[in-house]
Structure formats: C-alpha cells, structure tokens
Symmetry: C2
Subunit: 498 residues, 2 copies
C-alpha cells in the first residue's frame, strides 16, 4: 500500500475511538507490532483536529475541489431549499445532511457520519464505561439491527437476537435516525429502564422488550477446561476483539496449555468483531507461514498479505464455534483457521462483513467513519454479505429460537395464532409434546399446557394466560442457559477428538 | 404572500410538469383566473433553465452562500470520501447525494430530488402518454408506497391497494431508490409485463403481483345518473385533478343538472390529488362567500384565504365519498365541502397530505420538488398525517380487503396458515360460510371449499390448489367490481335523501 505520510497521521488519529466503537475493525496496518503502542499514543493527541496537516497541505488537499461545478450545484440547491421550504431550515442541518447524503451514495452501511453532538455524547458514553444494554448494532437496509447481544448483558438476558430490528426506543421511533443517534437513545445510566420495540424476522407484530441498563462487561475472554471422554478440552470464548483481547487470550491459552489441555475450542459465537490487530495476534499463535492469515485489498485492487512467522502448528486439535452473530474480526478468525489451518468450523453461517473502516475526524468535532479496505480470506475469498459456511453445521434446539410472547387475551383450544406456534415450540422444548407447532391450538396442545401447568404449580386450565406465558418463558430461558442444551458446543467438542 | 417577481417566474416554470406529475398540487396562487392560462404558457418556455434570472440576479441569489464555512465542510467531506473510500467514487453521484441528503433533513417525503436522468426519462414517459401500471405512489418511511391505484388501470385490476409497499420490481429491490427512480422502473411500454413484490400491512410474506402495463386513462371525470327511491341522484367521480378536470367536471355537472338531478354524490375515493386550481374551481361552484374554501400558510406563518364569490348554495343535497386513497386535492375538496358547506362525508378516513409542492428546475436538467406551503381547511385545521374523518363511516365488505393468495402446496383440512384466513374471507364474501376466518382450515372450511368448487365446475376435493385459488380470486374480483356490492356508494346515496 502506498500511503503518503500525511495520511498515516490522519488515519491513525482516532485509534482510541476506533477501539471503543467496537463494531468495526481498527486499522493498524501501518506499523508492525512494536510500533503500534506508539501509534496509539500519537493518536490520542491528533484526535481533536483534522489530522496534522499544515495549511499548505490542507490547501493542496482541497485544491481540486475549489470552485468546481459540483460545489456550485450543491450551493444552488442549498439556496433553493433555505429560501423556499415551508419551514425555517437550519443551515447546519443542511450541511450535515449533505455529508450524510454523500455517504449514502456509497450504499455501504458501514460508512457513516457522526456529527459533533453525536461524537460528544459518544465520547461521554465511552468514558462512563459502557453503561447500556450490551448489544452490538448495525444499520441494515436503513434499520437499526442487532448484530449480537454481548454475553451476560441485559440484551442477552432479555432475549434480543441477531437480526432483530429496533423500531422504537421508549415509544419513540428511531426511523430516520442514523446508527449513532439511535445508539445514544438506547444507551443510558446503569439501573435505568428502556423499552425497545423490535421487529423480528418471521414475527408479524412488533415485540415490546423491557431492559434494565447495566455496566456492560469489558472482559472479552472467558476460558474453561472441560473433560470429554476422559480428555481435557480447553474452551476459550472471545466475546469481542478490543484492546486487551489478544493479551487476555494468550494468558488464557498459556494457562490451559499449562494444565495439560489436549484440544481447544475457540468460541466466537455472537462476537461482532473489533480490532484487526487483535485477531491477527491470535491467529499468528496458531497458523504457520505457509499461507497468509488474511489479505487486505485497497481501492486500487492492490493486495497486501499478512503472514504468521511460525513454522509449526499446535500439536493439539482445534475447532472454531461460530454462528449468525459472528461478524467481522470473528469471521477473519474463522475463515483463517479453516482455510489456512484446516480446522473445523462448527455452528451456523456467520454474519458476513468483509470490510474495514476507519474514523476520520473532520476538524470540527464530527467524524466520518469510512470503509477503506476489503479483507480477504487466506485463499482470497471476499465473504461480504455472504458469511462463512461452517464445515459442520449445527443449529441449537428449536426453542433457542422462540420469541417472547405477549399475552393479552388468554390463548385456548381452537385458537389460531402465531403466538400459539411460539408457545408450542416452547412446550416442545420443555418436553411437553403439543402435537403440532403451526399455531393451531389443538387438543394435544391443551394437554401439553396442562402438563406444564401441573409441573409449574399453576392452576391447570389448559389455557395460556399471562401467568402461564410468563412461566413458560422463564422455563425456556433457563433451558437456553443450561450448558447441557448447547448442542453447538457439544458438537464442537465431539468433532475435536474424532 | 410577498413573492418577489423573479420568484414568480421561477416558481411558475414547471407548471406543465406539475400537472403531469399528479401526486402533488400545482401552485398557481399568483394570478387570478384570467392570468393562469398565460402563466402556463410562460412556464413551458422557462422549463429548461434555472428560472429566467439574469446573471446578476443569479449572483445575488447565491451571494450569501459563497465561501461559507458550511460549504467548506461539504467540500472537505467530499475530498475525504473521494480519496479514501474502498471503491472509486463518481463525483456526480456525490453531488446528487449531497442534494438528496439536504432534502432528507427536511423529513418531508414530498420534497424530493429528481436528477437529470430521472427527469429525462420522466419527461419521455409523460410524452408517451402515461403507459404504465396506473398507480399513484408516495415515499412513506423510506418505502415506495401506493397511495391509490387509478380507476380502470392494471394496478386496480391486479388488486394493488393503498398503503401497499413496493419492495421489488421484476425481482430487483427498490430499496434505497428515490421515488422517481422507483417509478421509472415500474413504468414501461404498453403490453409489457412487470412483477411487483409487495409488502402489505398485516400480511407476513411479501406478495408477488404480475401486471401488464397499459395506457393509463387520462380522463379524470366520470358521471352517471342513478335512481334512488324514485329520485334522480347524480354521481360524479373524480379520479385525479389534472389540467382538464375542472372543465370536465363543470360539463358533467351541467348535463346532470339539465337532466333534472335532485341530489349529487361526488366520489373522490382513490383520488390521489393533483392541481390546486382545479379543486378550487370545483369548490367555487358549490360553496358561498361565508367562509374561505381553503387557506394557505407560508413559511412565515402568513395565511391567505381563498373565497368563492357565490352567495347561494345549490338547491340540491350533496354528499362526498372518500376513502384511505383520497389524498391532497381530494382532501381539500372533502374538508371544504364539510366545513364550509356542511355536506356529509361518507366512507373511511382520508390519506392525510396537507402540503403543497412545486418543481424548481436546477438549470442542468435536474429538478428539486419542494414543499412550499401548508393548506388548511376552511376552519384552519391542518390535516397532514391525520386525514379527514368521514361524518358517516362505512367500510366496504370484508372481502374487498382480501389479498391475492399464492398457492404453492395445496391447502387442506387441519392446515394453519395466514393464507387460509384470506381464503376463508373470500369464501365468506362469495356466500360460502367457512365457519371461521382465523386461518385454521376446519371441517366447515372444507365444506365451503367443496361448495365453491361445485359451483365453479372444479373437481370437488375440498383442498385449495393453484386452480381453486385462482378461481376464488377471479370470483372475488368480479364481486368487488359489481356495483351492487359498493356499500359506500349505497350509503352515500341513502344519506343524500335523508
């Protein structure tokens, strides 16, 4: 890549912010390992102005734009709108709109504009250590969409799912808001309540889900040793790739290896991605110099390849666990472990984000987050909007995918309703066969409801009222949390020692 | 209103286009009756350039914009995007995006940008005399939404409905397209086919609807004399307000009056609006100088009121028929007849569009259509996004609101499906009681299907396959077309002579 020095300064500027934003991969291509910490320090200082360009450099930068026909047209349109529109128009809003509008033409949901106010609130929110609901979100088809809830967060506990679309926050529509404005509405102080109206694929009526905001855990690595057929299997779960992640990972790995681990499962389910350097550091531990661990393609089609320096793989087997919530850096990990390492990928198809963004400060406190590169797999595949297929596909049991049910009128024999279908799936997951799961409340379903009510010490009516519905949901959440029901993990462990 | 003369020239410029666009109200506030035809001629000439401003006037117009901080930021953002984005960026697209982005900040679905290409194709389409599907559309919450199908058009025949959202045209998503780009994809030569994927409120799966494009009827007024309890009731239907509409209306009215009409129903159901002058001309025929027929509020809150010069109302009773597809000029008519004339409004709540747009050419072939005014009812109410409530609410029978059903697998006894619910409503509308309409295929439904199959000379299976589904749909469309089933019209006639 041929970056002029001034760009490097410019692009490094917001490394701190990059780390914190979480939903995209920070760029630290420009130095090798040792130089990175230095860059991060420089970055902190540069963050408040438009790079560190001299006046002359700025002039050169803007030269070919000045006085262009293009700008005249924008100027003219601005004049027409300001002078004629039925309401008073705020100049600044028009400018922000123009910048947003230019970004919109890129048709890239990851290239976004964050205005001054958004950035200020964003920085404040970061400083107050991620009090919120703990879900990574993205703009998909103009809708604020859950990529993944963070492990142990209110979002996960309330049952938010990948691909849920957030329609309203506390009764107010987020339609038309950009991602960051929407996120700021969702975030808030620990202990406060927020109600989200959610459109879930396959569910007709919007769901209303109440959450209590909390500190969002900043730990990103969790490890455990399991025993499978007398063998020691290490499990390392990575919940996102942030600044400490690779250090935490190496520490956890060392400990497991020290304890005689005979195989490793790396779990990136629901991991929305993060910093590019972290995932590279982790991959370099496992892969050899035979193939690139990842490739990066710039706007001119120039490709740079990154290699590990190792000559030998680990002497124990490894599998990677992923699902539809595994995005970005998680997908780099999965693709690389598979294509360069030959390791199995267990679970379901990943999210499909194959681009790399950088935050570029505009000098007035606002920032453009712009897609600069594509990343390619070791074999040169671009998985954007496609995702990565597992080598061993395993879904969780059907009741993992049930939806919260709001019962207004009790549901009973002979009713037909989408909600009945959901309840039937829950009953089935709890071992009470409802006969069918298509939404028709049959005699068999009634019997299953009675069974459940007996078990849960409810009055045995055979009807599903608010209380029975609530108990069903509690029981399902308990089942989902029970490790014994994690079919994907079981498969990953099975595959390990085959 | 205080419009400087140069603005008048500018704003009159596209009167011809205004008339053709149909979905908004042309502005001809600036002259009284006699001057209007003159203006329309001027307009035709001025249409190709940025008004008829001299170079000096243009300079003055743009003066306060030049060199502003606002533009510098747009310039800077443009530079950042052009030089860094992962793909090559087209300068012109960025400019169009900026203009669109500025309009987006207005949060007004009726203020839109039409680029050169769109305008060229748009003009061509107009010249080829409206070959298309015949539906008026609007952008609602970023979705291309049907306001109303035009009477006798392919859109009406295929069963498109108000509030249907168009997702795809011939398999290609219209997501992200602006209204006019989307419309151009839908339009095309007579005889050609187009398949729309439709998201209909209350229907989970998108519907696929095939239409054959046709000449869209340019007649906008249809009249008829009916006999109700021995009395002669005139009916005038207005399908949209275009240049000839008020002339056609007056002609029809004269004829009905000459034939001894004793009462009048004005039917603006499904009428999406059009030219402001037309509806005013029509209202002036019926209303007196006691109250304004309509009020117009400009950006400074200044209100101008328009009056009829008549001192006496018609000596026969009048009712207005409207529905959820009655928008804009239709709503001016309905509101005015009710508030100023005291006439009944029969039907369902209207669409809710209370603003007035004008097309402003940008000089390079592109055009900004901008909202300039609000219109208020005679009593000063703004009905925007609220609609007008009927004084006598009547819905059509339930089967008017059924949806086309795509049958892949035959539907049969004990199935549970939204499609079954639709079929049940159709059966009920055809006089074959299905027992229930909630989507559960009961024994009663099976019997009703058999009844229908017997009647329609189909093999009597009790299952709904593609053939039975198709015949059901045909039968329903026939019922909907049958005037005897038009409950709203019947009510309007009843109310007339009460």
């Amino acid at each position: 890549m041929n970056w002029k020095p001034r760009y490097i300064a410019l692009l490094m500027a917001l490394a701190v912010l990059v780390g914190a934003a979480g939903s995209y991969i920070g760029i630290e291509y420009f130095g090798s390992g040792e130089q990175q910490s230095q860059s991060a320090q420089v970055a902190d200082k540069g963050a408040e102005n438009f790079g560190s360009l001299s006046a002359d450099e700025q002039k050169e930068f803007l030269k070919d734009m000045a006085g262009s026909e293009d700008l005249k047209k924008i100027e003219q349109a601005m004049g027409v709108i300001k002078k004629n529109y039925v309401e008073e128009v705020d100049d600044k809003k028009l400018v922000e709109g123009a910048v947003q509008g230019m970004l919109d033409t890129l048709e890239d949901p990851y290239s976004v504009y964050m205005d001054q106010e958004t950035m200020e609130q964003f920085n404040e929110t970061i400083e107050s250590s991620f009090e919120g609901i703990g879900a990574e979100v993205s703009m998909v088809n103009d809708k604020v969409t859950i990529v993944a809830p963070i492990k142990g967060s209110p979002a996960e506990e309330a049952g938010l799912k990948p691909n849920d679309q957030i329609l309203k926050v506390d009764g107010k529509s987020v339609e038309g808001l950009d991602l960051y404005d929407a996120v700021l509405k969702i975030r808030g102080e620990k202990g406060t309540e927020v109600t989200l109206e959610i459109d879930r694929p396959g569910v007709t009526d919007p769901l209303s889900i109440k959450l209590v905001r909390d500190d969002i855990p900043l730990e990103t690595v969790y490890s455990d040793m399991k025993t499978v057929d007398g063998k020691k299997a290490g499990v390392i779960e990575i919940t996102s790739f942030s600044e400490q992640t690779s250090d935490e990972f190496h520490e956890a790995l060392q400990k497991l290896e020290g304890n005689g681990m005979e195989g490793l499962v790396i779990d990136v389910r629901g991991n929305p991605g993060g910093l590019f350097t972290d995932v590279k550091d982790i991959l370099k531990e496992f892969l050899t110099d035979d193939k690139p661990i990842v490739q990066v393609e710039d706007r001119n089609g120039e490709i740079s390849k990154e290699y590990s320096s190792k000559s030998k793989k680990k002497d124990y087997p490894i599998t990677v666990l992923m699902d539809e919530g595994s995005a970005s850096a998680s997908e780099i990990l999965a693709a690389s472990m598979q294509e360069a390492g030959g390791y199995d990928l267990v679970g379901t198809k990943s999210f499909g984000k194959g681009t790399v963004q950088q935050a570029i400060p505009m000098g007035d406190g606002s920032t453009i987050k712009l897609t600069l590169f594509k990343w390619l797999t070791p074999d040169g595949n671009w998985i954007h909007e496609k995702g990565i297929k597992p080598t061993v596909e395993v879904k969780q049991p059907a009741y993992f995918y049930t939806n919260p049910v709001e019962i207004k009128e009790p549901l009973k024999y002979n009713d037909t309703d989408e909600k009945v279908g959901n309840i039937q799936k829950m009953l089935k997951g709890l071992g009470h066969d409802p006969g069918r799961t298509d939404g028709y409340f049959s005699k068999g379903t009634e019997a299953a409801v009675k069974d459940f009510q007996k078990e849960a010490d409810l009055s045995v009516t055979g009807e599903v009222d608010e209380e029975t519905g609530g108990k069903l949901e509690e029981a399902i959440i308990e089942e989902v949390r029970n490790e014994d029901n994690d079919k994907q993990m079981q498969k990953a462990l099975d595959v390990l020692f085959q």
